[in-house]
């Protein structure tokens, strides 16, 4: 049924360890590298959130280990406010960039997009390798940013790069939030702790990350357009592929804008330009231009940075969540043993979300001083983006309706995704209204909203994806019992962490406060603050189970068949793990849509995309038996 083709034999499989596992051009190895990077980054990010919760709930407590690790950030083991704020900044940056952008797209997308469309590799394998290594350099630079200011030796090393790289302001890491609003982020050391060398490295790391992501996005789009196998028409692609494709388009068009903004910001910091720094500033007792420590700046626009940042920043939210949506649709259908409800509507919804995602960035800026008229347009567009999101939810429920669910761990996480996506997404209706934003802006309800929807829901999508595809990637199953315990604790835990945060926001608790002791009106929230922290400690602790499960199962897990889930798409047509060229020299031919479950009259309850014999009730008459 299939012929052998020259295209399937382009690269001989490498034999040396370095070419095979380190500098590999195989998309599967690169995908796993991305996932490992994300697993490392998410550990760092989680520990940071743990430290933040400790500081908020038990302020002033001495944690001796902190003093050992960060002598300047936590003298005597007590966290300083600047240490707390740099944790906020680094947690956000690491999670958004190095976890939510790498694992869903660079990780799972890299591994499975080529296989699911029946290709032997990405269109540009070397570029693919480059995109991972560039991203890894970005991660190393951001880790340096944490330590450069608190560590004298490191600080001196970087001081050689120029005056703006001088550290030693007695803090750890940059302070600016993941949004790095200018002019705080642009002024340099004069603006206080956390604005020295660490902030330079923060900007540089993000710029490097942009380049890595762009290379990846280019590859994804080209691969999908050029390398689909015979019979893999667009409307036969799994929804995962649509999601990765749309994500790649979003990345391709939004990261360059952040890169441009980042270059401007870096020039303001190191070269004395005034893109974002207005004139007449008086910072820390010094007037701009009156002192060599603070050169003259004129006429820059702080709001310009916000426009450039959020033009990227909002699509970035969808870059994080779309692959999770794709994986959820895919896994729901597989374990519900039922075709995706409204496949076409799902594709249109992904596209609508992607498109509208470019026109709603202003909802982050309602109270920034931009035109109040544009706020109205942004507000209405923002609420419209809820429509395709709701359509997706309805279709997920429609998929479950009348199904026969198999409750695997992957399915539990996919169902958890739906629940959390609704819980987190629905409050967008509040935050998207400019007038309500007058009360809600920069309070904990914002934190709760985006953590649930872009953070936790996306992560649930990734958990589902990992439990689902792990057997394909490593030839072994993840332990189911540990997986279930992991699910139950995490699912209940994230509700306990983030639902109370909505209430805090309604009361008016502002984000990014190192301490709430100053404000009387926040005192009543103390029980909720404690509840959130305790839930966070438990939930984060439960993630250790996950790490143990992954690393134990890679080596010792139960061996998996080629198609342990009785799934339909092309990755289940090959061995676990797949050979170097994915299909052992014989590319598959596709005859069916991706989710043919429970086809009446079919011998099994699933019809694989390559099953030529299967008869599926078709639109063009019952012409399934051609051969």
């Amino acid at each position: 049924m299939s012929e052998t083709h020259e295209g399937a034999h382009r690269h001989p499989a490498p034999t040396g360890f370095i070419r095979k596992y380190i500098f590999s051009v195989d998309h599967k190895v690169i995908g796993i590298q991305y996932i490992m990077l994300a697993l490392a980054a998410v550990l760092v990010g989680m520990i940071m959130s743990l430290l933040m919760r400790m500081n908020l709930s038990w302020p002033g407590t001495s944690w001796p280990i902190l003093e050992t690790l960060f002598p300047t950030g936590a003298p005597g083991g007590v966290m300083t406010p600047e240490f707390y704020l740099s944790l906020v900044t680094m947690h956000g940056t690491i999670m958004v960039f190095f976890v939510l952008t790498t694992a869903p797209q660079g990780g799972f997308g890299n591994y499975f997009l080529p296989i699911q469309i029946g290709a032997e590799d990405m269109a540009f394998p070397t570029l693919n390798m480059l995109s991972f290594w560039v991203t890894l350099v970005g991660f190393i630079v951001i880790l340096l940013a944490i330590f450069v200011e608190g560590n004298q030796g490191l600080g001196e090393m970087f001081a050689a790069l120029g005056p703006s790289f001088r550290g030693g302001s007695g803090t750890v890491g940059p302070i600016g939030g993941w949004t790095g609003y200018a002019p705080l982020s642009a002024l340099g050391r004069i603006a206080g702790p956390g604005q020295g060398a660490g902030m330079n490295l923060w900007v540089i790391s993000i710029a490097i990350f942009c380049i890595g992501s762009l290379l990846g996005a280019l590859n994804f789009i080209t691969t999908l357009l050029n390398m689909r196998t015979k019979g893999m028409s667009l409307m036969r692609m799994p929804l995962t592929c649509w999601a990765w494709f749309t994500t790649a388009v979003l990345a391709l068009l939004s990261f360059p804008v952040l890169l441009g903004g980042g270059i401007l910001l870096l020039l303001d910091r190191v070269a004395g330009t005034s893109f974002f720094i207005p004139g007449g500033l008086y910072v820390s007792g010094i007037l701009s231009g009156s002192n060599p420590n603070f050169p003259l700046h004129t006429g820059g626009s702080p709001i310009l940075w916000q426009h450039l940042f959020w033009f990227f920043g909002h699509p970035e939210v969808y870059i994080a969540i779309l692959p999770g949506m794709g994986a959820t649709s895919h896994i729901l259908a597989t374990f519900a043993r039922k075709p995706v409800f409204g496949y076409r509507a799902m594709v249109f919804a992904i596209f609508a979300i992607g498109l509208l995602g470019f026109f709603v960035w202003g909802h982050h800026m309602f109270i920034s001083g931009m035109s109040p008229y544009s706020a109205i347009a942004f507000s209405i567009l923002t609420l419209s983006i809820g429509v395709p999101s709701a359509v997706k939810t309805f279709n997920w429920l429609g998929t479950l309706w009348g199904s026969r669910i198999r409750f695997t761990t992957a399915m539990l996480f996919a169902l958890g995704f739906v629940s959390l996506f609704v819980a987190g997404g629905i409050t967008g209706l509040i935050l998207g209204q400019s007038s309500l934003d007058l009360a809600m802006h920069d309070t904990y309800i914002v934190t709760a909203h985006f953590h649930l929807v872009m953070g936790v829901a996306s992560i649930f999508g990734m958990f589902a994806a990992l439990y689902f595809w792990f057997p394909k990637m490593f030839g072994r199953l993840l332990n189911d019992t540990i997986g279930r315990i992991h699910f139950w604790i995490t699912f209940i835990g994230v509700y306990a962490i983030f639902v109370p945060m909505h209430i805090m926001g309604i009361v008016g608790m502002p984000r990014r406060f190192a301490s709430f002791g100053e404000y009387e009106f926040l005192k009543e929230l103390h029980p909720l603050v404690m509840l959130v922290s305790v839930a966070a400690v438990i939930t984060i602790g439960a993630q250790l189970l996950f790490y143990v499960n992954v690393f134990w199962s890679i080596f010792k897990g139960k061996k998996a068949d080629d198609n342990p889930w009785e799934a339909t798409t092309l990755e289940w047509n090959t061995t676990s793990p797949p050979p170097h060229d994915n299909f052992a020299g014989v590319l598959p031919t596709v005859y069916h849509g991706p989710y043919e479950f429970a086809v009446p009259g079919a011998p099994k309850d699933f019809v694989m995309q390559t099953d030529i014999e299967a008869e599926v009730p078709g639109g063009n008459g019952h012409n399934g038996h051609k051969h």
Partner: protein, 222 residues
Amino acid sequence: MVTSTRPIIKKGAGPGPGVPGPNGNGSKGDGGEYRDPKSHANRYRIGMWVGLASVTMMFTSLSSAYIVRSVSASDWTSLPMPRVLIASTLLILASSVTLEVARRQLKAAATTAYARWLMITVVLGVGFLVSQLFAWRQLSAQGIYLSSNPHSSFFYLLTGAHAVHLAGGLFGVTFLWLRSRLVLSEATQMHKRKASADAVSIYWHFMDALWIYLFLLLFLWR
């Protein structure tokens, strides 16, 4: 109504089951050679257009910053245009022409002429970069630096960003030129060579047009 058995492949979504769809592999559905080398080589062209979309977005963001900054600021001092930019412009226009000639020669299978015209393009491209460097030196000789005023900041930034991108293109043309000496026997490799030549020249012409745009933006807009 939900229970109705609907056709799994709807209208316009490719043919019914049993018949492989026309869209895979980017082929035109002519039932021709599967993983057709010609259409597979197309990935270079597709990749280039996709890449240019992102280059466009970056320069769009920088230009919109330029426009916002120039309209809103009271501190704007217009730069004197370095005369040597005229030479730059002529050089890059000429290089586009020579690269196009090279590509035609490749189509006509005139490999030697192809290599020669590529070499001329490389020389012109280097000439452009040198000329840009002269423009920078002219300005700095007048005491106008990156941080002097917003117009000079944008001038150095935009010309610098363009030069970096053009240097990438130069790398591409040089690569074509070095590869042009290889004698190709297989049709597959020939398709690949044509596709890479196309991709590089799309990029080069784009950089040419981008320069014209930046030149107009920098000295005509304000």
